[in-house]
Structure formats: structure tokens, C-alpha cells
């Protein structure tokens, strides 16, 4: 190993960038640890000690001859699921491990991988479609679906444009569920024949941390107890915030 320490440092910080992006795009704790570990061995490390929880990464890379590098990374960005980015970054790490990339190429490829992936309009369509479809799925009519879809697009707008203005997701969820609840209750009150519960259920599918909750239980079952517990507590509080927002909206309208 004649590589200089600076070179190894450069490599490891790119590996951490990739790990952080994977986590923010919706990757599992397992996957992030595994990716950094494999990349380290592909670089030529003798030993890799990687510890990842949802908010932080700690890595020590042993290069032999008493030479080692330790880096930590605090992950502050909130989860914004982007599976296209996730697979791109995954491909970059695979290519690196297969020996197809040098360290300089790795950095370039990583920067290419995190470019924005889709037009926002697709996400609005996705939110509207999901809310509308689930309103019918749980027993609503086509009119319920239309109202749910409209508010679904509004939720998407809140999540994309406004969530960064709030200090934490809990406050954001209380307020957005309150606004959505108020809007849906008012519409259902003045237009007869709509099923308030079905519309709200369709929109709740977009707001509930169902995926986060399931992932957290899965993390616990797989053995990542710390991350799992953190996410579980987070998602239960999140669901509570959601309920609080809706309850206040109900009280005001009825």
C-alpha cells in the first residue's frame, strides 16, 4: 500500500457522501453499512469498521502498518425518498467494487448520480393518483376520489415546498394535517353526498409514516435495534402529530 494518506482520506469522504445520500434517499441502514464496507475493502483496506444509525455514520478504515482513518458524519437532511437516485448510487458503488472506477472517476460518477431525477409534475401526479386510488380502494366513490386527488396534490406541494420552512417534521405534520383536515371537512360539509372518511383516508395514506413504521420494525427484527427504535419512536410521534392536527380540524368544523 503506497497510497498516500490524503488519497485514502479523499476516498473515504466520497464513500461517506454516498452513504449519506443512500440514507436520505430511503436506503436501509443495512445497505448503507454494507456499501461503505465493501467499497473500503475494494479500495484496499485491511479492515473496515462501519457503524450507521439513521442520523449518523462512523467509519474507521484500517490501511495496515498502523495507519488508519476515522471519519464521522452527522446526517441532518430529512428523508426524501428517491429510489432512482438510490439505484444510481448503488450502481456507482457496484462499479467501484468491481474495479471499473478509479477514485477520481468515483467522485465524478457520484456527482452525476445525485443530479435531480424527475420533473416535479410527476410527483404531483403520483400524489393525486395515490390519494384518489386509495379513496376508492377503501370504499369511496369516484367523486370522493376526485376530492382526495385534489388535496393529495396539495399535500405534495406542502411536502415539497413548505416542509423545509419548519424546524422539525412534528410541527410540520401537525400544521399540514390540520390544513388538509380543515379543507376536506369544509368541502364535505358543503357538497352533499361526499364520504368524509374515505377522502381523508386517501389523503392520510400520503401523510402517515406507514413505510417508516414498517421499516423501523423490520430494522429491529433484522438486528439494527438502535436505528429501529429511533425510527419507531419518530414515526409514532409523527402519527400522533397527524392525529392532533385532524382532531383540531374536526372540532372546528363540527
Amino acid at each position: 500500500m503506497d497510497r498516500s494518506r490524503a488519497d485514502a482520506y479523499e476516498f473515504l469522504s466520497v464513500a461517506l457522501d454516498m452513504g449519506e445520500s443512500l440514507m436520505v434517499c430511503g436506503g436501509e441502514v443495512n445497505r448503507v453499512e454494507d456499501t461503505i464496507r465493501r467499497m473500503g475493502f475494494a479500495y484496499g483496506a485491511h479492515e473496515m469498521n462501519v457503524f450507521v444509525i439513521t442520523t449518523s455514520i462512523v467509519v474507521t478504515m484500517e490501511l495496515g502498518e498502523g495507519n488508519s482513518i476515522t471519519l464521522t458524519r452527522r446526517i441532518n437532511s430529512p428523508l426524501s425518498t428517491d429510489f432512482r437516485k438510490l439505484s444510481r448510487i448503488n450502481d456507482v458503488s457496484r462499479n467501484y467494487c468491481a474495479g471499473k472506477l478509479s477514485v477520481e472517476n468515483l467522485k465524478e460518477e457520484y456527482i452525476k448520480a445525485i443530479r435531480p431525477t424527475t420533473k416535479p409534475i410527476r410527483m404531483y401526479i403520483g400524489s393525486a393518483l395515490a390519494a384518489g386510488a386509495f379513496a376508492v380502494f377503501f370504499g369511496g366513490t369516484i367523486f370522493d376520489a376526485l376530492v382526495a386527488a385534489l388535496f393529495g396534490a396539495l399535500i405534495c406541494f406542502f411536502q415539497r415546498e413548505l416542509s423545509s420552512l419548519f424546524p422539525n417534521p412534528i410541527v410540520f405534520n401537525i400544521l399540514s394535517s390540520f390544513v388538509i383536515g380543515l379543507g376536506v371537512c369544509l368541502v364535505a360539509k358543503f357538497i352533499p353526498g361526499l364520504n368524509l372518511d374515505k377522502i381523508l383516508i386517501g389523503d392520510i395514506m400520503l401523510l402517515i409514516p406507514g413505510v417508516a413504521m414498517t421499516n423501523s420494525i423490520r430494522d429491529i427484527l433484522v438486528g439494527d435495534t438502535v436505528s429501529g427504535t429511533m425510527r419507531l419512536v419518530e414515526s409514532v410521534m409523527w402519527a400522533g402529530a397527524l392525529a392532533a392536527g385532524f382532531i383540531v380540524a374536526f372540532w372546528i368544523v363540527w
Partner: protein
């Protein structure tokens, strides 16, 4: 008839979430089929066992196998196809009725729906972990070779 509407809307809902989670366009039909399979299997098992937990568990197991196999073929991480496909089982309505029962101060009903919500979440998590464990055992040797 309403069964087919449910399966169709499950597939549409999965496409919606696939768009929201920014899947590649060519993966959207796979997510739709995944959602339809998940809900179809759930309804089928529910019909014969009348047990929500068992139905959700078996549906998740099949859905996870579906996602694992396809993701190997498509060379993409398994979560990418798994999460949109398993969405129809996420207990949105149970959570809503827990909330609305609480507002109406009907604690017995609220507890019933809260238990239902937990049952779904546990069944999904258990199903995924089960398949992953089987998968890890099956492919372990190959992975270890890659490490060394």
C-alpha cells in the same frame, strides 16, 4: 365485482407511490403488478382463513419474493420495487378509524382499530424480515466470496 375494483385501485395506488418515490418509468408496471399481487393474495388468504394477520403476512412474503426476484433481474435494490408493491397493506384506514374513534370518545372501538393497525404493521415487517433471512442464507456464500 368490488374485489376487482379493489385490486385495480391497489395497482393504481402502487403506481402513484412509485411516481412519488421516483421509480424509473420502466419499473412502474412492475410496481402496479406488485400492488395487485399483494392485495389479491391478501383477499384470497383472508377468504379461507378469516385471519387478517395471516393474510397480511402471506401477502407480504409473496410480495417480497416478487420484489427480490425482479430486482435481481433488473439489477436494482430490492426496496425500490418492494415499498410501492407493499403499499396497499399499509393500514391507513385502520389508523384513521383509531383517530376518529378517539375523537368520538369511543375508547373500546379506538383500541380495536389501534390493535388492527399494529397487526398490519407487524405482519408486514415480519413478512419482509422472514424473506430477507431466507434470501441471506441462500446467497450468503456468494457474498462472502465477494468480500474477500
Amino acid at each position: 365485482m368490488s374485489i376487482w375494483i379493489q385490486i385495480l385501485t391497489a395497482a393504481l395506488g402502487s403506481i402513484g407511490f412509485a411516481l412519488l418515490y421516483r421509480l424509473r418509468p420502466e419499473h412502474l408496471p412492475l410496481a402496479a403488478v406488485g400492488g395487485a399481487i399483494t392485495w389479491g393474495v391478501y383477499l384470497l388468504v383472508l377468504k379461507y382463513t378469516e385471519n387478517i394477520f395471516a393474510a397480511a403476512l402471506i401477502a407480504t412474503v409473496l410480495c417480497t419474493f416478487y420484489a427480490e426476484i425482479l430486482s435481481k433481474l433488473q439489477k436494482t435494490p430490492a426496496t425500490v420495487l418492494l415499498i410501492p408493491s407493499v403499499i396497499p397493506l399499509i393500514p391507513g384506514s385502520a389508523l384513521y378509524y383509531t383517530m376518529s374513534s378517539l375523537v368520538q370518545r369511543d375508547l373500546i372501538q379506538a383500541w380495536y382499530f389501534a390493535r388492527l393497525t399494529i397487526q398490519y404493521a407487524l405482519a408486514i415487517a415480519l413478512g419482509i424480515s422472514l424473506v430477507w433471512t431466507i434470501w441471506a442464507v441462500l446467497f450468503q456464500r456468494k457474498n462472502q466470496q465477494r468480500d474477500n
